[in-house]
């Protein structure tokens, strides 16, 4: 065993010295650390302390109103008391909380689903409505039990509301909560925006934007309607409790959007369609104002505002009626016989026919080894241009199409707007198909498919074959003819209104371009169309009008019947013909044109023309049909 030197005072004091050195070293470490934090990195930490301290509380801007051409508000905001839950406070215990709350307040399974989805979407940050539109009793009951529910409070919130529910849903669209995708898009918009662009979101506070327009006018006029959200700069505690407001940047409310649509007309047409599916577009040819834009069936946009629940969504989405499908904008149909007046005009302009030139119609037309039939057995006899339109003689147009050729037809139809984007102020417009040799070459892959066969030209003359247009395009083309070749861009919105001053700024564009058409030729077509309603296919529907109206019926085949005879009643509903109709009135100086389709209804004269008649009676003479419930302004 080794023995050590007795620890005397000297060795103890030596160790005390070493301890002092150690202590000094440690203090030196601490001081270095503090100098590092408080001098070198002071700037960084000061900044962190500031950002800790402040929170920007968004102040959403009031969304602009949607107003029809006569001042009827069809999209508005209302303030309601809402049961708000702070996501932070209920983490993991949502069901228990909702169960407890439902003892005093009625909470539907749908409310529960929507709330839980908001929670998931938000990654547990922020405050979300669990129930809106609390009534007085519920409010009182909650206030009495408030102590039991920390993190739950009652607040007044602004909600978007479409007071007429389903009415005009496809053109209004709806708003919904901002999605992650929306946020990224808006971020990119802000970064890409020019400083002098008045619509740019430059000064806006992104987190303050909680709702955006998802479809319809709510989408296409989003930047106008939204306004600029403001924010309060608030000092907060670590727990996020606000202590005081330091500054605030007020929100700027969105502007009102004034529609060119006459919502009463829209309502009437939607009622007239009843349970039929279809599309209806009415345009004021002189201005391009869209007066009605109907897609049936429709849906209730109010269901979407706070997030649609999955059951309703599935119902809408899976329905064979396709209520979410914007038919006038996206649905493409062969125009059928409604194409004939345009074909006739093309013939006159291209000098392929004169009005008095006649053909003899045996009831069919042979081309190559194929026979094209007329719908009238035995034929229409001697047919001139007016008769061809009034009686809707197919043979006349088979021959005409053959004589013109596909490209001459296409060249004439293109400026009228067939197969072209009209540029209406809605997103997602379908282009349709205006066939031409070039179109076929570009569309198909195999060389044998790319070749245009002359036989394919024949059925173009009666609006069949490859022809596929939207009802909007049909209405637009009708308007362009009714307006004597002056093309006005169709639009649903005609002015932007300042919410305070009520000053309106017109947004309607001047004419897009002019088609050089001979006034005499147009007169021939208009006269023939007037005769259609006097003595032709739709005369019954237009008996006794107090104004002069031109029109043309059409029946479009949904599928080729292979020369078998078509029997309406015996055909499955979804395979039945579409009934089409176009019209303009009054003939002398048209103020309204109409294009419409009633899907799978049958003959145009029987199912479409009567609807057009009642719409025109109302628009021109103010007559309301007895069978349709009176228009009532929403409270």
């Amino acid at each position: 065993m080794v023995s050590f030197k007795k620890p005397d005072l000297d060795s103890f004091q030596e160790r005390i010295h070493i301890a002092t050195l150690f202590v000094t070293f440690c203090f030196f470490l601490l001081i270095t650390r503090l100098v590092w934090l408080q001098l070198v990195s002071h700037g960084k930490y000061a900044l962190l302390a500031e950002s800790n301290r402040f929170a920007l509380v968004p102040a959403p801007a009031n969304r602009g109103l949607l107003i029809d051409r006569n001042g009827i508000v069809i999209g508005r905001n209302y303030s309601a008391l809402t049961l708000d839950v702070n996501a932070e406070e209920v983490k993991g215990n949502v069901d228990q909380l909702i169960n407890d709350l439902s003892e005093i307040i009625d909470i539907s399974p749908r409310d529960r689903r929507n709330f839980k989805r908001s929670l998931e979407d938000s990654r547990n940050m922020g405050t979300f409505p669990l129930r809106s539109m609390l009534n007085e009793t519920e409010t009182a009951r909650f206030m009495a039990n408030r102590y039991r529910f920390p993190g739950v409070e009652i607040r007044a919130r602004n909600f978007r509301e479409y007071p007429y529910n389903e009415l005009a849903s496809h053109l209004i669209g709806y708003i919904g909560r901002v999605s992650q995708k929306d946020k990224e898009r808006m971020q990119a918009e802000i970064e890409g925006a020019k400083a002098d662009d008045p619509d740019a979101l430059q000064a806006s506070f992104l987190p303050g934007i909680q709702y955006v327009g998802k479809i319809g006018l709510e989408q296409s006029y989003e930047t106008v309607l939204r306004g600029v959200p403001g924010y309060d700069q608030v000092e907060i505690t670590a727990g996020g409790k606000p202590v005081r407001t330091l500054s605030s940047s007020p929100s700027v409310p969105g502007k009102n959007v004034v529609l060119s649509v006459d919502i009463k007309l829209q309502y009437l047409v939607e009622q007239l369609y009843g349970n039929f599916r279809g599309a209806f577009v009415a345009i004021d040819p002189e201005t391009g104002d869209v007066l009605a834009f109907v897609s049936k069936p429709n849906f209730n946009p109010n269901d979407f505002v706070e997030g649609i629940d999955s059951v309703t969504w599935k119902e809408l989405n899976d329905s064979p009626q396709k209520p979410l499908y914007n038919r006038p904008l996206k649905g493409i149909y062969p125009p059928g016989s409604t194409y004939k007046p345009f074909m006739a005009l093309a013939a006159l302009e291209n000098k392929k026919r004169t009005p008095s030139q006649t053909i003899s119609d045996p009831g069919y037309f042979d081309f190559g080894n194929h026979t094209f039939r007329d719908d009238k057995k035995g034929g229409h006899g001697i047919v001139d241009m007016q008769k061809s339109i009034v009686e809707s003689c197919d043979t006349y147009y088979y021959m005409l199409a053959r004589d013109m050729g596909v490209n001459m037809i296409a060249d004439f139809m293109k400026p009228l707007g067939f197969g072209q984007i009209t540029g209406i102020d809605l997103q997602g417009e379908a282009r349709g198909v205006l066939p031409s040799t070039e179109w076929k070459k570009n569309t198909f892959k195999k060389p044998e498919q790319q070749k245009w066969y002359e036989g394919e030209t024949i059925s173009l003359g009666i609006g069949q074959g490859y022809n596929a247009f939207t009802i909007l395009q049909l209405a637009h083309a009708m308007a362009n003819v009714a307006n004597n070749g002056i093309v006005m861009k169709p639009h649903l919105v005609k002015a932007i209104e300042d919410p305070f001053t009520r000053n309106r700024v017109l947004t309607t564009p001047k004419e897009s371009y002019r088609i050089d058409l001979n006034a005499d030729n147009i007169e021939v077509i208009k006269k023939a169309m007037l005769e259609v309603n006097n003595s032709g296919t739709s005369a019954a529907a237009f008996k006794g009008t107090g104004y002069q109206v031109g029109g043309k019926t059409g029946t479009a085949q949904v599928f080729s019947l292979n020369s078998k005879e078509y029997k309406h009643g015996a055909t499955a509903e979804f395979l039945r013909d579409h009934a089409l109709y176009i019209a303009f009135a009054p003939v002398e100086k048209p103020t309204i044109v109409i294009a419409m389709v009633v899907e799978n209804a049958g003959f145009g004269a029987q199912y479409a023309a009567p609807i057009a008649r009642k719409a025109l009676d109302f628009y021109i003479e103010g007559k309301w049909p007895k069978e349709i419930p009176e228009w009532k302004r929403a409270p």
Partner: protein
């Protein structure tokens, strides 16, 4: 000559301070004043009573005064008993202690006590007693005995588990053993290993803190703590939150500080335990680097004075005890400031005389009392 009544009263008043070390007393008063003023700011909007803090401070000084009257000889005589009682209580804790927050640290004996606290004083007492006993006949196996005396309670405390306290008790014991003359050739290898270990952790922090790396001998939560220290942002809302927020408080204080009652971090509740373990962050934010230098100077002076008292103490027992107690003060201050400023892992150690808390203040008063007693009896006890 008959003394005037006024001088009599004066004499009586100052009499109670007779023999107390004036330097040490002034330093402690300075620290207590800093603590009290910081407390006023830190406790704003919290339900902790100012009166309580004031009472605790007074209690601490009363304890100091009382202990300073006890001759070191009495402490020496009671060392074994106190140590024995402490170990017995620790065994009792292991057998039927209360479990709170997953740890078995407390004993319900009418009042709830935490026996590991007793060990903080009992350990240096016992070891100083032992080396005093072996003075002059010290053999190398004495260090083995000392190691056993040290290991038993440290093991019991570490098992509770309370690694922070175990380390502090271990440090207190080691101070006595090293000061008693543990050969350098035994110490240096460990110091070297420690330095290398720390350097390795710093250099390879990123790698070894990877999620799937398991450390030998260490609980997951302990690994977590060290890793959070290396990179507080790895867990910004959990353990890292405390460190990040206190670092922000200290850093944003700058050189002059934000001013008394002006600390936004403190007053907006970003600092956890702001009047207890993290009180230094509050002080630092409001008084800046300038205030910190003053505070560190006070602590340094306290340690220098404590060591000086020990160096001039009459026998080995008092020397070892005094120096150990002083170094415990140092350890508390260093570990606390190190942890609050993000230099050391977060362990529950108060800042001496600044942190709120009755037990800690009384214990610290006891320690200061020992130093006072050693100073007061420096000539009376001769070995």
């Amino acid at each position: 000559m008959e003394k005037s009544p006024l001088i009599k009263v004066k004499g009586l008043f100052f009499g109670i301070f007779a023999g107390l070390d004036r330097q040490l007393g002034l330093i402690l008063l300075g620290l207590a004043a800093v603590g009290f003023f910081t407390f006023l700011s830190a406790s704003q909007n919290t339900p902790v009573q100012i009166a309580d803090e004031f009472r605790n401070l007074v209690l601490s000084f009363v304890m100091m005064w009382l202990v300073s009257r006890i001759p070191p000889k009495w402490l020496e005589m009671s060392a074994v008993w106190i140590y024995g009682l402490g170990v017995a209580l620790l065994i009792a804790v292991a057998a039927f202690g209360l479990i709170k927050k997953g740890a078995r640290r407390w004993l319900n004996a009418g009042i709830v006590i935490q026996p590991s606290e007793i060990m903080k004083i009992a350990m240096p007492l016992m070891l100083a007693w032992y080396f005093q006993k072996r003075e002059g006949i010290q053999k190398s196996w004495d260090y083995g005995v000392a190691a056993i005396i040290l290991a038993i309670p440290v093991f019991l405390i570490a098992r509770q588990p309370d690694l922070g306290t175990a380390l502090l008790v271990f440090a207190a014991g080691m101070y006595v053993i090293i000061l008693a003359g543990l050969p350098w050739k035994w110490i240096l290898p460990f110091v070297g290993l420690g330095v290398i270990g720390i350097l390795l952790i710093i250099v390879f922090g990123g790698t070894i803190c990877a999620h799937d790396v398991v450390w030998p001998f260490v609980h997951d939560y302990q690994k977590h703590r060290i890793c959070t220290l290396l990179d507080p942002t790895s867990d910004p809302l959990g353990k890292g939150f405390h460190t990040i927020q206190s670092m922000i408080a200290i850093g944003s204080g700058g050189f002059f500080g934000k001013g008394w009652f002006q600390g936004t971090q403190a007053h907006l509740e970003f600092i956890p335990e702001k009047h207890t373990d993290f009180v230094f962050a509050v002080f630092s934010e409001e008084f800046g680097l300038l205030g910190n230098l003053v505070l560190l100077a006070l602590f340094f002076a306290l340690i220098k004075r404590g060591l000086a008292i020990s160096a001039s103490a009459p026998n080995l027992f008092t020397r070892l005890l005094g120096a150990a107690v002083t170094l415990i003060f140092f350890t508390y201050a260093f570990v606390n400031i190190g942890m609050v400023s993000g230099l050391l892992p977060v362990v529950g150690v108060p800042l001496p005389f600044i942190s709120y808390g009755g037990t800690a203040l009384v214990t610290l008063g006891f320690g200061a009392g020992i130093l006072m007693s050693i100073h007061r009896h420096r000539r009376l006890v001769q070995s």
